[in-house]
Subunit: 488 residues, 4 copies
């Protein structure tokens, strides 16, 4: 029976000529000192300690079960791993930079604890499938964490939308006032973006839910391993069906960052809006002191730092995506050292996204909506001009004619420095007799314009209520339901 | 009743002062000539003519059904649209660059055909929801096309894998020979990458399957429209639940390009490998004349142009992804003209990916596998060294000791200029008595090494057969099944 | 003597078995039809016709001069090339898609004109150095064009700055009002960004100014060519000193796009500001009708389409940069077909940048500055609070104490709903006796605050005058002077 | 006289209601705890401690000189800053995370040392121009460091090229053997790439060599500062002429990363080649043990980890470029918190590039060139087929005919399994009588083909000698000469 112990992740610690270590064989010179530091992944992959230990524990159980190691050996190894787990949790694990990566650190520590039998843990396993396993466990964990945070964020949006249900703001296209809308309607647009983000992460979960363990260095192993058992213990729904794919694949990492990039894009849009709304010129909102900062010199300043950082950190996540896509471009199978570059962009993306998605709803709920300013703003614009034309059209005036009439009204207002609502009945009726009717003037009120938009998904209060109901249905559903169903 | 005719996509044609056109009102100068050409989208959005007509036909039927236009008006409009459809199909449609975009071109043509009643088609619709609809219809169509092509590609891989089932090649890590594998196993790694690509596009379909029509310029409409009817007629499963989201959202476009980027990444890897394998030094394969090109001067040259272009065009798709992510970074709601930049990157990505995925399987099936060269290559390497150590381990020699023994054997070979298989029984047994046994030498044969890797997903012929079965199951399933289920 | 005719750019036209063409030799099957269309570069490289002809003319003269072709042959070839040049200029050149690229199209046409002697033009040349030459000529031409446009743009900024010299606007940090500044000062910030852009393009010119011609397919040629003569005729200052570098290098293309990306970044910032200033809430400026568009339905709309497109097209240029960086990542020497992907991103970038840089100054000069609105805005903010503290500090009050006092003043204003300037002498002096003095109140005027910033580069009118002088000095200098000097 | 102390970089430490700190004024709530950690830049900007102290020292001297602070105050501050400098150097500086950034950390520490007078250091300065100054100082320092390393790298290439001057290798296009070249010629191609990289960094230096100090928060200062003095002391050649530009500009950071991206692109190409050459199939080179790693299980493995990491880290630098371009897209003037994201991508790029450029030459010089393998390879290919055709052409056979003849020879060889050099005189002359001559056969030798390429920049030994001379001239020149000249 052959060993599957095909370690291919390159070893470089201990390449001394007279090494007592098991791999000294072919090499005659020690690794170049700067090269050693350059190539070490421990500074970042130590973050995978938990996943590595979990994977090793299950691997050990599988080896026992398959009779590849004895029950005694297995028990010893488990004991050692648990001791290490405690050290990691307590922060006392003695990380050793000369041992290149987290896998070697743990193996070395295991042997320190339980002696040479610790070396048997690596039977039928290679660092190639081991690190792939760690990455899968990590990504799966973080997908769940992000999904949960996104749901809380959505819930906060719903809550806020319900709270400000009566507030009307100008709706914009091209950053020009277009038509009045409910502030809640505007906010809820982001609910749906986050919903798609959540679904994307949910869909990704299925593709991350493939176990690479048992693929060896690249070609599988000749040991009678039980991949199904390991998968079940580790909570994997599926196995990689091809060992070469298993050790080469980082799609799930790149896809994670792709989805994070879209998410950040959404949040950068919301941030941009809130920054603009916080300007003195807009003054629609005021940030809570908790999320704004001041200036040591200019006492009037209240800077939306959080929102600016969210907008700025979008660049960081885009950059991480480009970094990883570049790494894998044109890379032959199977494992190549280039792939070590997968970790930092992922970790950075996870941290960035989680922190932002955690803080953002708190910031949102602490916003002060400056209703007076908004109301005043609405009175001064022409965003209900459309309504007047609509009214005439409703009275049988051909729409083109109606549009022309209202166009003239607007021009009259601009010339006179008046708003539509400031026009007297006389002024209005001088453009068309129907405009004498009180209903005509009623239509000029922003609230009337909003209430008229009753189409499904529109901004009328009634449509909003239905939208909120739909939203709550979505909130009630995990993005993973689907995956769950699939496994039934 | 108000008109929902909130056209917000900016009009610029015909802004002359004394215009007889319905929107001349506020403007007093014609658009700057270079600006007009700069802003026109017709040169690229004419590609959406089919989608635009389909959307308009359904919109017309909905307006009739809801009583917003009369049956006679509706019939006339339908007739006009069908005439235009014929022109488009026959290539006789008179595209007019002064009419800025495809929507205005069709509307103008409709009015030329059926007179002013053609203007009623735009009731309860804005160009904002109209163009969003066109993009959705286009993306949905192209997802289906790409999924189909990917499936054919996968089928070709399975076919080829079955054909070359007995061929063994060196398996690589770090582009260094690691362990022998079945060529089929190597090829099948790409089957699974394409499977994930296919699933990603399948998942995206659900998110593209939302109808924006009926969202107006941004806030919905006050006409009693029937969005459910239109959705059903247009084959949409879902509606956007928020009109502002509906006209602002291009997630489905960006996600399409994200998935295309991953797909191209996979194909760039395969291309790189085939380019390397086609080098004289490797000589594992020879491209068919149909997919290679020569040199006018160097008669020996046979250049893998197709593969190089695939690798190179990966950059193009990555670039398209970055372009769109950048466009939307920090963009406030709702429609902004920046969004017009969504089309060219999408179209370019669709064309690039479809062409490549169509040609690649034909290229693959026409490859000549140079079995003699490969076999010879295998005899000259040390990639079965692991097997010898495994054999000793199986005989009870502790693995470390076994590894040390084989390390010495390899070094001996290097010094003597011999391969492992060229060693005599005497030479072998001088390292360890167990190596005298014929089974030891048997293990040194690449085929034996391959056959030993019986773990699930491993490279042994038996495992490959099972893998191919799994693959065929996947091939039998559409990536859209899930979506289908959801709609039950 | 050997021919340098090492054509390596792959030929695929005419690979029929019984070809009478000179390269049919090794191939036995025609190129796959879809592959042919996929690989053809003619659709985009026809844009290089002019450069290709220029390069060929000079190459022909060099061949004559070096005695490689006879004077009669040379004269005939020149005649043919000139005939083709006329066809290209007049738009009558019969582009033939089956002849893959622009080089083959011209060569074929030349032979049609003057017979087989046309084939001698390609002596001592390969398509590898030929296409590199075309790209260099094109990039050099476009650098000069962009530099010129940038200078005009800068001149327009200076002109506008001089025109609006007395206008004060709020200066922002974090999009919050910080301190009042001269509008001219704000505008001039962009002058300096464009100055750096111009210098970057100028520096690039030197690196594009290397002639690759004479490098053959990759290794030079054995013909006694005179590269110095060709360089002089073609206006190149330097030669590539390494033939392999010459045919592999596209740094100058990537660097062009890098600099374009920075330029677009600058313009996206300016566009963003002008979009925000055009909002009803800011109302600092109004776009000329020539550069804005309206809505067919909402008569009040005036959309800043041009500015939005500039902002959006930033994504396109970033994408082009990523595309090319990706193409060249990990590409072995020398020419690889991947490199054909260099053209479209370059052409697209050139067109995008030139159009924008041409239109932008016209748009800028047609802006209406709404001075009344701006003045009114300044009266309502607290951006001169710093001045008050400064005044106290100037009177000997320790700065910290002064800051605290003014902080209290600001809070008092916020509570009372007053601006600083609305405070009475009594109110002010209740915070500190020194504030009773008229100079204290004077400092609260935006103009006073602006005038105080007399440091070099500051916003005071005097400093601005000096800045404008510096700017004019820069305007007077070409970004290429340096290169010119170098060549002395 | 007003204080220029317009700190706009937002303060958030110590916003407690009853703060005794100078900026407590407007705020009533402490900053949200997670927000505080999210927004802090100390974890990365502490790296700028040295630059910050240098800038402060000079600022202090300028304040004294201009009479803004007294000589005593200045002496005290200098003393304090020097004490802090020692702490930083010795690693004992007590970094305080609650003090948000490096600037506040140093200011706080200064006050701890010398009391309230330490607060005077910030007179006429804002964190906006302070951080810009630090970044300029840092980038200038690192440009010089990178330029120096690049020059050493180039020197190593020249040295190696001189050492292996007689080695001939196959030259490739499309990774297919094209024509034989000198290994030195191939290596020298990279010399010229690095030369352009070096020039780019040199050109950038001039654009980084602008002093922002004295620009205040955004608008300059009313203190009678002496920017020219500060510039001279700090070693700046130029001043920013516009204060708003000065605090908004990060072009020099982005340009640094752009140039680094091109440099990495070059190194990824070289790495790719060396990886391919290290494969068993090529076996042109063998990496030194110092720069390769093995496998714990597969004794034959020698993995080119360093080269793979270089190739992979190209993605990282590309990603950093995209990150920063994204951050600044559409950002209004002047300072925005988004800009804090400029540091990590820069630092990461500097570290990545410097480490690689430092290790690479050592790796290169330790390579073993496997001359026997290369020689053997050359004997087996057809890369001199061109020469045979050239020979015939030289004998008066029309080139086309010659090409056809040699095409037939090649085909004959392929059919017979022979190389060109294995053909007998009889075989050769059966194709054409001239091929009977010994000179014909001579041309088939790779060395003869190489020697024939005598054109400038070609691969002949003579041309190489001239190339090396040119290279040494370049090596002798600093990339900054130009800048130096300019300052004369």
């Amino acid at each position: 029976m052959s060993s599957g112990n095909e370690q291919d992740h390159s070893f470089f610690a201990g390449k001394e000529k007279d090494s007592t270590k098991p791999w000294g064989g072919r090499f005659q010179k020690r690794l170049h000192a700067e090269m050693e530091a350059f190539a070490a992944s421990l500074p970042f992959d130590r973050r995978l300690a938990e996943e590595d230990l979990t994977g090793s524990l299950v691997h050990c159980r599988m080896l026992m079960r398959a009779g590849i190691i004895s029950a005694e050996e297995g028990a010893l190894i488990e004991e050692g791993l648990e001791a290490i787990q405690r050290e990691v949790e307590e922060g006392t694990f003695p990380f050793d930079l000369s041992m290149e990566d987290i896998h070697m650190n743990i193996e070395k520590r295991l042997i320190e604890y339980i002696g040479p039998v610790g070396g048997k843990l690596h039977t039928a396993r290679s660092r190639n499938d081991q690190v792939a396993l760690d990455m899968h466990l990590f990504v799966k964990k973080e997908i769940i964490a992000v999904e949960r945070l996104l749901r809380s964020f959505q819930a906060e949006i719903v809550k806020l939308s319900e709270k400000v249900q009566e507030v009307i703001i100008p709706g914009y296209t091209h950053l020009q006032r277009a038509q009045p809308v409910l502030l809640s309607h505007h906010l809820m647009a982001y609910f749906w973006m986050l919903q798609r983000d959540r679904e994307r992460f949910g869909d990704l979960y299925q593709r991350a839910d493939l176990m690479p363990l048992g693929s060896g260095a690249l070609s599988g192993t000749s040991f009678p391993i039980d991949r199904e058992f390991a998968a079940q213990e580790l909570g994997f729904e599926h196995l990689y069906e091809n060992s070469m794919d298993a050790v080469s694949d980082r799609d799930f990492v790149i896809e994670f960052i792709s989805h994070a990039a879209l998410l950040m894009m959404h949040l950068s849009r919301l941030s941009e809006e809130l920054i603009i709304w916080s300007s003195q010129e807009f003054s629609f909102i005021e940030l809570s002191d908790e999320f704004a900062t001041g200036s040591s010199m200019m006492p009037q300043k209240k800077n939306p730092d959080f929102l600016e950082l969210v907008r700025g950190k979008t660049g960081r996540v885009y950059g991480n995506l480009v970094a990883l896509l570049t790494v894998f471009k044109g890379l032959p199978l199977t494992y190549n050292k280039d792939m070590q570059e997968d970790k930092e962009p992922l970790f950075d993306t996870v941290d960035t996204v989680k922190t932002i998605v955690k803080i953002f709803p708190a910031m949102l709920s602490s916003l002060e909506i400056k209703r007076d300013n908004i109301e005043q703003a609405l009175d001064q614009d022409f965003s209900t001009a459309t309504e007047l034309a609509d009214y005439l059209a409703g009275q049988g005036v051909p729409f083109r004619e109606a549009h022309g009439i209202v166009g003239a009204v607007v021009r009259y207002c601009l010339d006179q420095g008046k708003t539509l609502q400031q026009l007297t009945v006389e002024e209005l009726s001088s453009f068309h007799p129907h405009l004498r009717e009180p209903q005509a003037q009623d239509r000029l009120k922003p609230r009337a314009a909003v209430e008229a938009r009753t189409s499904r998904g529109g901004t009328s209060p009634g449509a909003l209520v239905k939208q909120l109901q739909q939203a709550k249905l979505c909130l009630g559903k995990s993005a993973f339901h689907q995956a769950g169903k699939k496994s039934d």
